[in-house]
């Protein structure tokens, strides 16, 4: 079909701002800002207004980054704000660091661990834990210094909690 405009594709070497809504989407499969914000609300109850003043960017297929404020799009730089969310897969997955930063606002799918369970979690270990809620990605937290503090994202399946804490972030505490 030579008369058809070629479809725009994702360029893994640069950051592109997410389209606002599906109507604005030019690159196939790219998440929209609306979908990203709704996902955090639906999955974790993080209020959409939490993300006012932030922009969202894709670099690499499905890797979403969050930036306070704006820059021009597209932009070729090494990093833009914080890695935030992995899309373009059946179950979207937030990053450990995004959950530590924005999981404070979560009111749904929050799993609270004891101190000993938290130690296992930050060592990167899978553990058997009872949880009546949804399977899938959870905000995993523990009580620290007077309030719940998110440790990161956990994956709950088959009555066990898996720890996706990246190697470099794991600690023996």
């Amino acid at each position: 079909m030579s008369d058809e405009t070629p479809k725009k594709t994702n360029d893994g070497q640069r950051f592109d701002r997410l389209p606002e809504t599906a109507d604005d989407r030019e690159v196939e499969g790219r998440a929209t800002r609306e979908e990203v914000v709704e996902w955090w609300d639906r999955r974790f109850g993080v209020p959409p207004e939490t993300f006012e003043g932030y922009s969202f960017w894709e670099k690499g297929k499905g890797k979403i980054w969050i930036l306070r404020g704006e820059v021009t799009s597209p932009i070729r730089v090494e990093a833009l704000g914080l890695t935030f969310l992995r899309t373009r897969q059946e179950h979207w997955k937030p990053t450990t660091n995004a959950v530590q930063r924005f999981g404070r606002e979560a009111s749904r799918n929050v799993l609270e661990l004891t101190r000993e369970q938290a130690r296992q979690f930050v060592r990167g270990e899978t553990q058997a834990i009872e949880w009546d809620g949804d399977w899938g990605y959870l905000v995993v937290a523990h009580e620290l210094a007077g309030d719940l503090a998110p440790l990161g994202v956990g994956l709950y399946v088959h009555d066990e909690l898996r720890s996706p804490v990246p190697k470099g972030r794991q600690r023996e505490l």
Binding site: R68, G69, V71, T72, E78, Q100, L144, A145
Partner: protein, 302 residues
């Protein structure tokens, strides 16, 4: 350690200076206010039985009674970050405001970048640049762990840094914390002086001059540039300022800092520098029980 003998003409109480350089450094961290208040970070340390002592001059700088601040819950959560006390000086002197555009010209491994972001309440833009891709990964790790969202990371030679990726032409403020001979870090790393040579100092001073000049050019008229090193060598400090004063439209400005310091020197090794370099501050290890540091504040010409 003999290397430091060359500074005897500059340092009164030279024996105290030499003794201090032999002692290990206290373990100091900065509270990352993007993720926690100082009170909450202290409470987390209390719960773990890690002792802390406030620093009079700052709400966010704490001395800990552990050698491994990284092995604490407060660190895992990104509430604290290991940062030597004097290393916290230049970002405070630059004093960026929320919403401004700030360039951190030699940013890795990012303790000052993340401090700038925190001083800005994580609003506005910090452009964190470093020419060393390997060190950039350490910077990235730190901005991520501390939950910083207002920082863009670039990989350029700061001497001819290009603003092309951006839709603005100048920064409000720039931090020039240059690579240096690191003499002042001898308390942390006693082998740091093993590779010392005057040739290295001369060559790194050339790089420092190039970076400072580009920083002045890339900062708006009336904007602030802070120049800092962790070395005592006037060749890398006052001489670099003297060069920038003669080549670029800028001036040194006075600043207060609540740690004991000495003014910049105007004479060294047969060279004379512009009188205004006295406005820079030299921080010696024996004065505040810290590493050695040098910091100057410049204003770009209108």
């Amino acid at each position: 350690m003999e290397t430091l003998e060359r500074y005897e003409p500059l340092v009164a109480e030279f024996d105290a200076f030499r003794e201090a350089c032999r002692r290990p450094l206290p373990s100091v961290v900065r509270v990352n206010t993007v993720k926690a208040t100082p009170d909450r970070a202290k409470r987390a340390l209390d719960e773990e039985g890690v002792g802390w002592t406030d620093r009079e001059w700052s709400d966010t700088v704490l001395e800990l009674d552990t050698d491994s601040p990284g092995s604490t819950w407060a660190s895992f959560h990104g509430w604290i970050n290991g940062q030597e006390e004097v290393s916290a000086i230049p970002a405070e002197v630059l004093a960026p405001e929320p919403g401004e555009r700030v360039w951190d010209a030699c940013a890795a491994p990012g303790s000052k970048t993340t401090q700038l972001a925190a001083l800005m309440d994580d609003e506005g833009l910090v452009v964190a640049n470093d020419n060393n891709l390997g060190r950039l990964s350490a910077l990235r790790f730190n901005t991520e762990r501390l939950g910083i969202t207002n920082t863009v990371v670039t990989n350029q030679d700061a001497r001819n840094f290009s603003l092309k990726p951006f839709d603005f032409r100048e920064f409000d403020r720039t931090l020039v914390d240059v690579p240096c001979s690191c003499e002042g870090t001898v308390r942390k790393n006693p082998t740091t002086l093993d590779d010392w040579s005057l040739d290295h100092i001369r060559s790194v001073a050339g790089v420092q001059k190039g970076i400072l000049r580009r920083a002045i050019q890339a900062t708006k008229p009336g904007g602030t540039v802070v120049y800092s090193t962790c070395t005592f060598a006037p060749e890398e400090n006052e001489a670099v300022l003297d060069h920038a004063l003669s080549e670029e439209d800028c001036r040194l400005v006075e600043f207060d800092f609540p740690l004991d310091s000495r003014p910049g020197v105007t004479e060294w090794d047969g060279e004379e520098y512009d009188e205004s370099v006295r406005k820079a501050k030299r921080f010696y290890p024996h004065h505040n029980d810290t590493g050695g540091f040098f910091c100057a504040k410049l204003e770009v010409g209108e």
